[in-house]
């Protein structure tokens, strides 16, 4: 699942532009991930210029370890 770090997004829309399934809603100063649509490809995480997005999968991996 893609997570947005609170209060750090600059709302530039770079993630919206690369999302292959249109799973990111950006309106004015509000961003949200549509989790039902999201395919967890993670490219929004990579392309974000200020690293505001993250995946919760890393946490799960840590748990398994």
């Amino acid at each position: 699942m893609i997570l947005v770090k609170d209060n750090r997004c600059d709302f530039c829309g770079t993630c919206v532009a690369v999302c292959p399934v249109d799973a990111i809603e950006l309106r004015e100063a509000d961003i949200s991930i549509i989790h039902d649509t999201c395919i967890d490809c993670d490219i929004c995480i990579w392309v974000c210029p200020i690293d505001v997005l993250s995946s919760d999968e890393k946490k799960e991996e840590v748990k398994h370890d």
Partner: protein, 390 residues
């Protein structure tokens, strides 16, 4: 009867040019801007070429931050390649520049509304019939014969119309820029840093902004953005090279370096500017090209209203004229961008050592691109095409 003939979504340079051209062509036109301000926030390096700018507007000292007469390119090992370019270009105050263009659209008869966030389209039988938007928490609808989407890199309006705007990672640079003060730089020089140590897959820029200020930023190509942060690289550069710089503004943003979208029109709608991916794929510059696209879109919209054919067939002059004006060149430059990305830092250094021996006034951008092309002969033909405009 519709509320408007043309509704333009987005008040950047492309949107304002589209609105002005449509209104001048006799269309009842409305321009909607989502933010409270036209021209702000500025997600842009703000550099433009002089000849490109002057085809649209006379440079006005109010929005010219710096006049450029020198260009410098640096290789990964910081070898400087200088070339002189009289009347090369300008660094703008986009906030005021965008105001001037919107003001001109207004004077041509277009209505303008800020704080208008378009969150849906009115669609009947797959034909766009207007926009749904929020204004101060209130939901509104306005019908229009033609919607022109100039809503920037994120271009959700195109997607709402069912058009494919999603950009491949390779075709997107992840960008970050600080506008800084207290830096001792040549205010007539734009400075490009090329190499993976500066900005992997993209480049770093220093554009002067007058009074000891500058835009310092960079773009990291999407393909390698997983391993690099545009924010972190910019701040590292500032710390290493301008430790005393005061950061006055910082912004981030995506720079689409794709070819223009294959389809930029559909029944009742046209896309333009960054939304249509009209940015130069090598430089990432999109101000002038967006204005070119926006003006054509507005003119074609006004003409289509006269004929009454509001299908993509009725809009066919728009992609045709765009392709002739810039699109063809961009297709070639897209291949050049691919080639530049493949050149190793070591080769870039070698090229720079060779080019640095040529006196600045004998060096042209063409020579530099030719040197790049030599690394991969097959793209030489694309470079020649791009610069000859054939």
């Amino acid at each position: 009867m519709t509320d408007f003939d043309v509704i333009v979504v987005g008040g950047g340079p492309a949107g304002s040019m589209a609105a002005e051209a449509a209104a001048k062509g006799g269309a009842k036109t409305l321009l909607l801007e989502k933010d409270r301000d036209i021209g702000y926030p500025v997600r842009c390096g703000e550099g433009v070429g002089a000849s490109g700018l002057k085809q649209f507007i006379e440079p006005d000292p109010q929005w010219i931050a710096a006049t450029i007469s020198k260009v410098r390119m640096r290789s990964p090992d910081n070898t400087k390649v200088d070339f002189g370019m009289k009347d090369a270009g300008y660094v703008l105050h986009r906030r005021l520049f965008d105001y001037a263009l919107a003001n001109r659209a207004g004077r041509a008869g277009a209505e303008i509304q800020t704080r208008a966030y378009v969150d849906g389209l009115m669609v009947e039988d797959d034909v766009v019939k207007g926009v749904k938007y929020q204004y101060m928490g209130e939901n509104r609808e306005l019908s229009a014969k033609i919607v022109i989407a100039a809503d920037g890199v994120e271009s959700r309006v195109g997607r709402m119309a069912g058009m494919r705007t999603a950009t491949k990672l390779r075709d997107m640079d992840s960008g970050y820029q600080a506008t800084v003060g207290n830096v001792d730089i040549d205010q007539e020089l734009i400075d490009f840093f090329i190499g993976s140590n500066w900005a992997p897959g993209g480049y770093l820029w220093i554009f002067p902004k007058g009074n000891g200020m500058a835009n310092i930023g960079l773009g990291v190509n999407g393909k390698v953005a997983k391993d690099f942060s545009a924010h972190d690289l910019t701040h590292k550069f500032l710390k290493d090279h301008f430790p005393k710089a005061s950061i006055l503004t910082s912004v981030c943003g995506g720079i689409p370096i794709a070819k223009t979208l294959k389809t930029i029109t559909k029944e009742g709608i046209m896309l333009t500017g960054d939304a249509a991916r009209m940015v130069n794929p090598v430089t990432g510059g999109g101000i002038i090209t967006g204005m070119v696209g926006g003006r054509i879109a507005g003119e074609v919209a006004a003409a289509a209203l006269q004929t009454g054919d509001l299908t993509s067939k009725g809009f066919k002059d728009y992609p045709a004229r765009w392709q002739k004006a810039e699109g063809k060149t961009h297709d070639g430059l897209h291949r050049v961008a691919d080639a530049i990305f493949e050149i190793t830092d070591e080769k870039l250094n070698k090229m720079a050592h060779r080019l640095a021996k040529i006196p600045p006034d004998e060096l042209s951008l063409m020579k530099i691109f030719t040197a790049v092309a030599r690394q991969k002969p097959s793209i030489l033909i694309d470079v020649t095409r791009a610069f000859a405009g054939v």
